[in-house]
């Protein structure tokens, strides 16, 4: 839908303590850690298979508690961006 946000079931999460720590945090809230985001240290790509793949609103659930985890500095649920080839 043009102009409306489309939320995916992918998250960018900033966790200090290395990838084992990231794996622990991911498992704790039901995410899968797909690894570091390119060259951004402490930034990880989490995926939650039980959250709907595309939604017009951010989906609330137990996985949202990740925001409160002390190890987690920052969380961004990924929104679809409209990109055009030139």
């Amino acid at each position: 839908v043009h102009g409306r946000d489309v939320f995916t079931n992918h998250w960018a999460v900033r966790v200090t303590g290395g990838h084992l720590e990231a794996d622990r945090v991911a498992a704790k809230y039901g995410y899968r850690n797909l690894g570091q985001i390119g060259s951004l240290e402490d930034h990880y790509h989490f995926h939650h298979s039980r959250v709907v793949r595309r939604a017009a609103f951010p989906f609330r659930g137990t996985h949202s508690f990740i925001h409160m985890d002390p190890q987690v500095q920052w969380v961004q649920q990924q929104k679809v961006k409209t990109r055009e080839k030139r």
Binding site: V6, T8, H10, W11, A12, L34, I37, G38, S39, L40, H43, H45, R54, Q76, Q78, K79, V80, K81, T82, R83, E84, K85, R86
Partner: protein, 796 residues
Amino acid sequence: SIQNDPNFNFNDPKWSSMWYIHCNDKSSPCHNEMNILGAWKKGYTGKNVVVTILDDGIERNHPDLAPNYDHLASYDVNGNDYDPTPRYDFRNQNIHGTRCAGEVAAAANNSHCIVGVAFNAHIGGIRMLDGDVTDLVEAKSLGIRPDYIDIYSSSWGPKDDGRTVDGPGPLTRQALEQGIKKGRKGLGSIFVWASGNGGRQLDHCSCDGYTSSIFTVSISSTTEHGNRPWYLEPCSAILASTYSRGELNDRTIVTTDLHQRCTDRHTGTSVSAPIVAGIIALALEANLLLTWRDVQHLLVRTSRPLHLKADDWKTNAAGLRVSHLYGFGLVDAEAMVQEASKWRTVPPQRTCTHKPLRPNSYIHAGQTLNSSTVSSGCSDEADREVKFLEHVVVSVLLTHPRRGDLEISLISPSGTRSQLLAKRLYDGSNQGFRNWEFMSVHFWGEKAEGSWTLEIKDCPSKLRNTEVLGNLKEWSLTLYGTSEDPYLHHSSSTNQDVPGPEGVLDEPELQEEEEEEYNGPCHSDCGDQGCDGPKAEHCLNCAHFSLGRPNTERACVSHCPVGYFGDVAARRCKRCHRNCERCLGQSEAKCSSCRRGLYMNPLSSTCVDTCPQGHYGNQEQQRCVECNDNCKGCVKDSDRCTACKQGYSLAGMTCVPECTKGTFFHLEEMSCRRCHSSCQTCTGPGKGECIRCTEGFLQQEWRCVQACAPGYYSGQPSAGRNRMCHRCEENCLSCSGPGTACLRCKDGFSLVSRTCVVNSSCNNADEIFCEMVKSNRLCEKKLYRQFCCKTCLMNG
């Protein structure tokens, strides 16, 4: 052979159509002003430079891409695996990445399609557009192997619909900054971006945050005749331009296409970004040490307005001609490599940010609002002082009932006016601009100090309630540049001027008797003979050392300055050898540290300007440091290799073991691993990852097979290449060769004249009737042929 051969005559079938590289077509005007051939003649073809295309994938087994394909510069972000092969679908929509890749590094002289601008460069692809594109996907893509990949080329962006204002998200901005800071081992990744195709929608590429980023090289297009292409949108962030396809009757740009084909349908600024990525690859081959800013400086200094038509060409105060359509003009590859080969890295970037201004002024319809600020160029802060400008960024926070009615300009202290935003007919948004960053390169080389004026014009385009006013709440100015002239070193290098040896003092001469007797205290450095004045120059002899020329000022010093050593016996400061900064004696081998620009050679204990093989010159330590064990030659870092020892080969700037036939280099394990038994060489262990096949096998796509699969036919053997299995034409299960040579069709299709036609389109009215038609030779009649398609057209 490229360097020696004055006339390039590649056997690539589309070489003759590449009018933007060479002119062999006498009937059409010559447009080789990008001088790509000139760069090749100097021997630069992109060797050892790694380029990747961020797009919808790359057909890595395309015959024109396979020879240069680099799986280490590739990844599939959409599919989360290492194979960037595009998804094939009936709408054929994933063609873009393959087309861009060919322009950069299609192999030369391989009898396929075209010749890439950097036809010896490594080319990879990052498949990231064929799925949900998110901030995370873009950030991940821009951060793939930043130490291995030199250039990331992107020909995509937010919608060019003339109303979208969008740019990189927080992660992507970080990824760009990380790439600039840490990529290419600290030299900075190079991000090339297509400026946008929204010309017809009156779009403006200042509304595209990727183009407006100072970290990206934003490239536009011009037509074969130097006109503005219909799709081109202006903005002040465009750095340079290349030829692309424009007007209808213009000559086209040919490149590789999906399904191992060629195409002449590639157009837009998508053509231009890869061409510049290729040209930057040539420049990097000429000078591996170019930083991301060196590259932008080179583009600014070598691009030329030539015959590019625009009514806004202007000369800024630094004498540079620039336009909102083409930046500093058409790129010049030969000048790029020429300048690059002798380039001295520009001084460190300085950032001078100014406190935001809060004019909180209303913007009245039909009127112009000016807001000015005086900048000192941060002259009061040494590490932020900007004297010579590069990029200028203005961040704006304003509200307005109809954003498309705004026209924004910035005027520099030198009086140069740069339009940051033009009116956009289709943008009816009432969102205003929320700390949106507009960037301009139009002040490049100008002085920073003085008064800067932001001018906002409100030109109502449609009926609108002019009672509702816009409001400029806040704006801030950020100046990027250098504190010293970036091209200072480009004149003859001015060595530190250290007085010559003739300045050495002879024995202290007895001073003429002073007219009046001095009875005051002597300087602490005077010796036991006293002095005829209070200063060190007045000593009659020295306690430690004397320094200076015999018949001019001579002084006593406690220790010798830089460039001198203390001769204890003679109690004099004597000059070091001219190459030394500090020394223990006068000979060249007595240097203890070297003059700027020279390095201590550990093998000879002398100061040299070029380190011996197997070493690189470490600027900070000013000494030659040994390359790491696999490197035979390196630059600026012990593991930034330019040549490898026996048994290793260069991949980017890393020496990886040369894997013997039948093995491939596994990056993660950093070792050679066996290929599949059917592969002679490969990119991975699977049987679908062969590059060349074992003797007796045929190459089918990316596999090696003993016999061609259904739907393929075996081609003729050619010298030095495996026999190939080529795909039969569509819907054909077996054939004897290319084109209409089908022998058996898929279900639902009939074989008609050795080609497969879908049954529904060719059948018979009545079998007996049609047999009669055929026996009476009535099939020549069109009417009968329509009734009895099958009988008349069937073989035999």
